[in-house]
């Protein structure tokens, strides 16, 4: 009995160590993939950053590609969690979608796994059509939100929800690609402008004002979140800097 408990505990500790190793590899690889293209990143860079040996890595990931796919998996898991969380709020279809878009945008600039995952999704070499599958499942999900938005009366009922979904997913991916994620505020600004511009193409005319406001509010909160420091701290820093330069 005692022996079993001890060996169990030892197994637990082993698992925890394995978890930490995996976590370190993912974190180091995400940092590399978030800022450089897939082909430019070498395994040696990742291993050096993670302070691990090749052997430790091969225990978890047989190749650079396997690491990349694991990061994409982690991103998908994050997105699923965000979606589940949002759906429990039981807002309307279009509100849920806009919330999700800004949530993902913040995540893309603040979280390296998310940023690397999004970038890898577009560039990683793979034979499995992974990115097609991922985008297809996004289009399907956005389609259900647009269908809901039609019954909510927010989206006009004479367009095909799937067409709207495809356009919005393209807008979302495209905006990320043309934006520099190291300048999160400009990225969010691009996102806000693109959305406000496209609203009239599928939104009921009497709902456009409301959703324009809705987008502007999400944009303002997202900007607050990505700016390096909260505004009040910034003011404080400015005052301190002013005091310093102007004795």
């Amino acid at each position: 009995m005692v022996m079993t408990e001890t060996s169990e505990r030892r197994a637990d500790a082993g698992e925890r160590r394995a978890d930490t190793t995996r976590h370190r590899l993912i974190a180091a690889a995400s940092h590399q993939f978030a800022h450089r293209s897939y082909s430019m990143v070498s395994l040696d860079d990742i291993l050096a950053a993670a302070e691990l040996t090749k052997g430790a890595m091969y225990f978890h990931f047989p190749s650079k590609q396997a690491l990349a796919l694991a990061i994409i998996d982690d991103l998908n898991e994050m997105s699923r969690a965000a979606v589940t969380e949002l759906l429990t709020r039981r807002m309307s279809g279009l509100e849920t979608l806009i919330d999700l878009v800004f949530l993902q945008a913040v995540q893309n600039t603040q979280n390296e796994v998310a940023r690397a995952g999004a970038r890898l999704l577009e560039t990683v070499d793979n034979t499995t059509d992974l990115s097609t599958t991922v985008w297809q499942s996004w289009i399907e999900f956005v389609t259900t939100l647009i269908q809901k938005a039609v019954t909510d009366g927010d989206v006009v009922d004479h367009t095909d929800p799937e067409d709207v979904a495809k356009m919005l997913v393209a807008l979302w991916v495209g905006t990320r690609r043309i934006s520099d994620l190291d300048q999160p505020e400009r990225y969010l600004d691009n996102l806000q402008k693109a959305w406000i511009l496209t609203l009239p193409s599928f939104t009921n005319p009497d709902r456009i004002d409301y959703f324009t406001q809705f987008i502007k509010r999400r944009h303002a909160l997202a900007v607050n979140k990505v700016s390096a420091k909260p505004r009040s701290v910034d003011l404080h820093a400015t005052a301190a800097a002013a005091a310093h330069t102007d004795p």
């Binding site: 429990t88 709020r89 039981r90 409301y210 909160l221 997202a222």
Partner: protein, 219 residues
């Protein structure tokens, strides 16, 4: 079943019987004897878990208000503007009270025992805390009128929520959402900044329309 799980199941069975009886005849008229009978338990089993009718009420209040508290917290954790969370949160709690028997009975008991039971008096002070945190954020987000005290704003919203609960007791809660919406409509101009008012009027109207009860009365 493990003894602990069995004991927990017994406890829940007694609670369910008490919830049924309290909601049918009210706390004062409910007798322990009838609760025992409904639960199909012995007096000993009941007294093993609850030493009095008030202990039963306290357990129901805790269980039911945990539901509403968690639902409200979930809303407040979102990254939406805080004033949206405050309005949406009130509707989510109201919904839960209308649809969940435990949550509803807990509200009834809370109202009835407010002055006598510490679990009951805790409920509203903790709701006020949660609401005030949001109100402070709403104030920094520029959605509240300038110079308003976040505590007073929170109190007014909770008063509205409690008032709608009390007055809608009649038509089996059907007009609950309508009463709540009407009062909040009146309250909005007093608390919302001029530039945000139109948006929040629409936000409230949408919140109202989303509720099934509202569908019939507006079409």
């Amino acid at each position: 079943m493990a003894p602990q799980a069995r004991s927990e199941a017994t406890r829940q069975k007694i609670l369910n019987a008490a919830i049924d009886l309290f909601s049918e005849v009210g706390y004062a008229a409910a007798g322990l004897g009838e609760i025992i009978e409904r639960a199909g338990m012995t007096k000993g089993a009941l007294y093993h878990h609850f030493d009095s009718k008030e202990a039963l009420a306290t357990a129901i209040i805790e269980q039911g208000t945990n539901l509403t508290r968690d639902a409200f917290h979930r809303v407040c954790q979102s990254s939406s503007p805080a004033l949206e969370n405050m309005i949406h949160g009130v509707f989510v709690v109201t919904d839960l009270v209308d649809t969940d028997k435990t949550a509803r009975t807990a509200e009834q008991l809370t109202r009835g025992l407010l002055e006598f039971n510490s679990a009951a008096s805790q409920v509203w002070s903790s709701r006020l805390d949660t609401m005030t945190t949001q109100a402070r954020r709403a104030s920094t987000e520029g959605d509240l009128r300038e110079g308003l005290d976040p505590d007073v704003v929170s109190e007014s919203i909770l008063n509205t929520m409690l008032g709608a609960q009390l007055l809608s007791k009649t038509a089996d809660g059907n007009d609950h959402i309508t009463r709540l919406t009407r009062s909040l409509e009146l309250l909005l101009p007093a608390i919302v900044a001029e530039t945000s008012l139109a948006y929040f009027r629409e936000f409230l109207a949408r919140e109202y329309l989303r509720h099934p009860q509202a569908g019939g009365s507006t079409d």
